[in-house]
């Protein structure tokens, strides 16, 4: 039974790692887009 639960734990672990990694990178990029847009606003006004 230990092997069985170990194998299923691997599935959940890898899936969660992938989802969290996508989420984290997405949040970082959203922040970067926001910062770039703010920097660009004064240029647009000129």
């Amino acid at each position: 039974m230990g092997y069985l639960f170990g194998a299923y734990a691997v599935f959940w672990l890898v899936t969660f790692l992938l989802v969290f990694s996508i989420e984290r990178r997405q949040r970082e990029l959203e922040k970067e887009v926001e910062a770039l847009r703010k920097k660009q606003e004064p240029l647009m006004e000129v």
Partner: protein, 223 residues
């Protein structure tokens, strides 16, 4: 894709995976020789299937990029590779965990196992190659060529258990399935659930890649 559709797909894939767990643990009968450890198959085989399918999507997207020159195909290619590598990692580790009680070893240099490791390494190299090239068009071109050439390893890995003498079990054959009806139903259900999960993850990963492209576009406009 709209937020409502994405949420619906996420919920559906979560329900499908829970359904898959129910079928793998409670619906499918216990295998006579291997016992409960055989239930690993219901997540191991779909993991490998999603890995192969993801690399096939990359292969098609790479051809489309070289043909059309549109970077959206390159974004699809890398998104699919990342998911494929994650699922191949699952397939290799869960296979190794299954092998320990059944073959009495964690790993053996069997053609299927060796080729799976080769496929995994090829796509890790694909990701590393992309990280090494800065120019987006150049990166996309190199990656597309690699994505097409690297895919040659996938059918080799898939057919390894049919072409060579191997100790790896063959479940699906042209003659039929080596599973009882309830086991087959569970396997097919898990294959469908994993495929759905692949598409849900692909949508999320693609969204990230589109955002990255937007950042690159804004940065290049500022220069």
């Amino acid at each position: 894709m709209s937020f409502r559709w994405t949420t619906f797909l996420i919920l559906l894939s979560a329900l499908a995976i829970i359904g898959g767990l129910y079928m793998a643990f409670l619906f499918a009968p216990t295998e006579a020789t291997m016992g409960d450890v055989q239930r690993i198959f219901y997540f191991h085989v779909p993991s490998a299937w999603v890995g192969f399918f993801a690399f096939f999507v990359t292969f098609i997207a790479s051809i489309a990029y070289l043909w059309k020159g549109d970077l959206k195909w390159d974004r699809l290619a890398i998104s699919s590779v990342e998911i494929g590598v994650a699922f191949m990692t699952m397939a290799i580790i869960t296979g190794s965990i299954w092998a320990r009680p059944v073959w009495n070893t964690w790993w053996t240099w069997d053609p299927r196992l060796t080729l799976s490791a080769v496929v995994w390494l090829i796509y890790i190299a694909y990701i590393m190659l992309r990280a090494a090239v800065e120019n987006p068009a150049r990166r996309a071109r190199f990656a597309a060529v690699f994505g097409i050439a690297g895919f040659a390893s996938v059918p080799l890995d898939f057919f390894a258990i049919r072409w060579w003498r191997t100790i790896h079990p063959v479940i699906f054959e042209s003659k039929g399935f080596h599973l009882s009806p309830r086991m087959l139903m569970t396997m097919l259900f898990c294959l469908a659930a994993f495929t759905l999960l692949y598409f849900v993850l692909l949508i999320q990963r693609l969204r990230l890649e589109n955002l990255r492209a937007e950042v690159e576009r804004i940065k290049s406009r500022r220069k």
